[in-house]
C-alpha cells in the first residue's frame, strides 16, 4: 500500500465534520418553525450522511458507499418533492404555515 491509497486527512475528521453538519441540521429542525427551513435542515442532514458514506468509501476504497450515497440523493429528492407538496397543501388549506398548528394527523 503506497500513500496514494490513504486519505489526506484522517477519517475521524471527515466523520467529525459530518457529525457537526448533522447536528446543525437537527438544530434547524428543532429550533425553526418555518417548514421550508425545516425541510432545508433535513437536506443538511441527508448531506451529512452522504459525506460520511463517501469518506468511508474512500477510506476503504469500496464502491458501496457511492451506491448508498446515490440512493440517499434519490430519496432526498423524493422527500423534498413530497415535503414541499405537503407544505403547499397545508398553506392553501390553513393560510398559515406554522408547523405547531398542523395537527391533522395528531393521535
Amino acid at each position: 500500500m503506497n500513500g496514494a491509497h490513504l486519505l489526506a486527512v484522517p477519517l475521524a475528521d471527515y466523520i467529525g465534520l459530518s457529525t457537526v453538519l448533522l447536528f446543525i441540521g437537527v438544530a434547524g429542525v428543532v429550533v425553526r418553525r418555518n417548514p421550508l427551513i425545516m425541510l432545508m435542515s433535513i437536506e443538511l442532514m441527508w448531506n451529512a450522511a452522504n459525506l460520511a458514506f463517501l469518506a468511508f468509501a474512500r477510506a476503504w476504497l469500496n464502491n458501496a458507499g457511492h451506491i448508498f450515497a446515490f440512493l440517499v440523493i434519490t430519496v432526498a429528492a423524493a422527500e423534498a418533492a413530497i415535503g414541499l407538496a405537503i407544505v403547499v397543501v397545508v398553506f392553501h388549506r390553513a393560510k398559515f404555515v406554522d408547523v405547531d398548528d398542523v395537527t391533522l394527523m395528531k393521535g
Binding site: L61, N63, F70, T74
Partner: protein, 210 residues
C-alpha cells in the same frame, strides 16, 4: 489538508447560516453554498460522479423547487410564522444536549483512530477524471449497473411513487381532475376579503372550513 479545513469551515458556516437566516430565500442561498462546498469535498474524496450529481440534483433540482415554493407561498397575504414562541421552555435542555453532543464529537476526533487500510481488489485511486480510477464515472456505473442493479431499480420505483404522491397532494383539492378536465376549465380561486384583512391587521383568524 488545507482544502479540507477551508471546505469544512465553509460547510459549517453556510449550514449555520441556513438555520439562522430570517427569510427562507436567504436559507436557500446558504444551502446553495453548502451544496457547492460539499461537491468540492466529494471531489477531494475522489467521488467525481457523486460531485456532479450533487450539483445537478441538489443545486439544480431541489433548490429550484424550494425557490418555486417560496415564490408561490410568499405571493399570498399571510406571513410564514406567527404565534407565541414556545421554544424558551426547551432551550435549556437543548443547550445541554448540544454541548454534550459537541463534547462527544471533539472527544471522538481527539481519539485519533488508526488509519484504515483499504481493502485490496477494488479499482485503484487516481486523479479525478482518470479513466478506471476509483470513483470515476466508469467505476461507479459498473458498480451501479452490475452488482447493485436491484437497488437502482428500486430507486426508480421510489421516484415514481414520489411523483404520483406529489400529483395527488398538490394537484387537486376541489373536484376531481377528471371532472375538471370534462368541464374544460379550472375553478376560480375564491378570495376571502375578511380573512385577508384580519391577517393584515396581525390577527390570527380561525381556519375557514370550506
Amino acid at each position: 489538508m488545507i482544502v479540507f479545513w477551508l471546505l469544512a469551515l465553509a460547510l459549517v458556516a453556510s449550514a449555520v447560516f441556513v438555520i439562522t437566516a430570517k427569510k427562507p430565500v436567504y436559507s436557500v442561498v446558504g444551502l446553495l453554498a453548502n451544496f457547492v462546498a460539499l461537491a468540492i469535498m466529494y471531489l477531494t474524496l475522489s467521488a467525481e460522479f457523486l460531485a456532479v450529481i450533487q450539483i445537478i440534483v441538489y443545486s439544480g433540482a431541489i433548490l429550484i423547487l424550494f425557490v418555486f415554493v417560496i415564490a408561490l407561498l410568499s405571493s399570498g397575504v399571510a406571513p410564514f410564522t406567527l404565534g407565541p414562541d414556545r421554544l424558551p421552555v426547551a432551550a435549556a435542555g437543548g443547550t445541554i444536549a448540544a454541548v454534550l453532543a459537541l463534547a462527544l464529537v471533539v472527544f471522538g476526533i481527539a481519539q485519533r483512530p488508526p488509519q484504515i487500510t483499504p481493502i485490496a481488489g477494488g479499482a485503484p485511486p487516481g486523479p479525478v477524471g482518470a479513466a478506471g480510477a476509483f470513483g470515476s464515472v466508469a467505476d461507479f456505473g459498473n458498480a451501479l449497473f452490475t452488482t447493485n442493479l436491484l437497488p437502482f431499480e428500486i430507486t426508480a420505483l421510489i421516484l415514481m411513487v414520489a411523483v404520483i404522491g406529489v400529483i395527488l397532494l398538490a394537484g387537486d383539492s376541489g373536484p376531481s381532475i377528471r371532472q375538471r378536465l370534462l368541464r374544460g376549465r379550472r375553478e376560480p380561486i375564491v378570495k376571502d376579503p375578511d380573512f385577508e384583512a384580519a391577517v393584515r391587521r396581525g390577527e390570527r383568524p380561525a381556519e375557514r372550513t370550506p
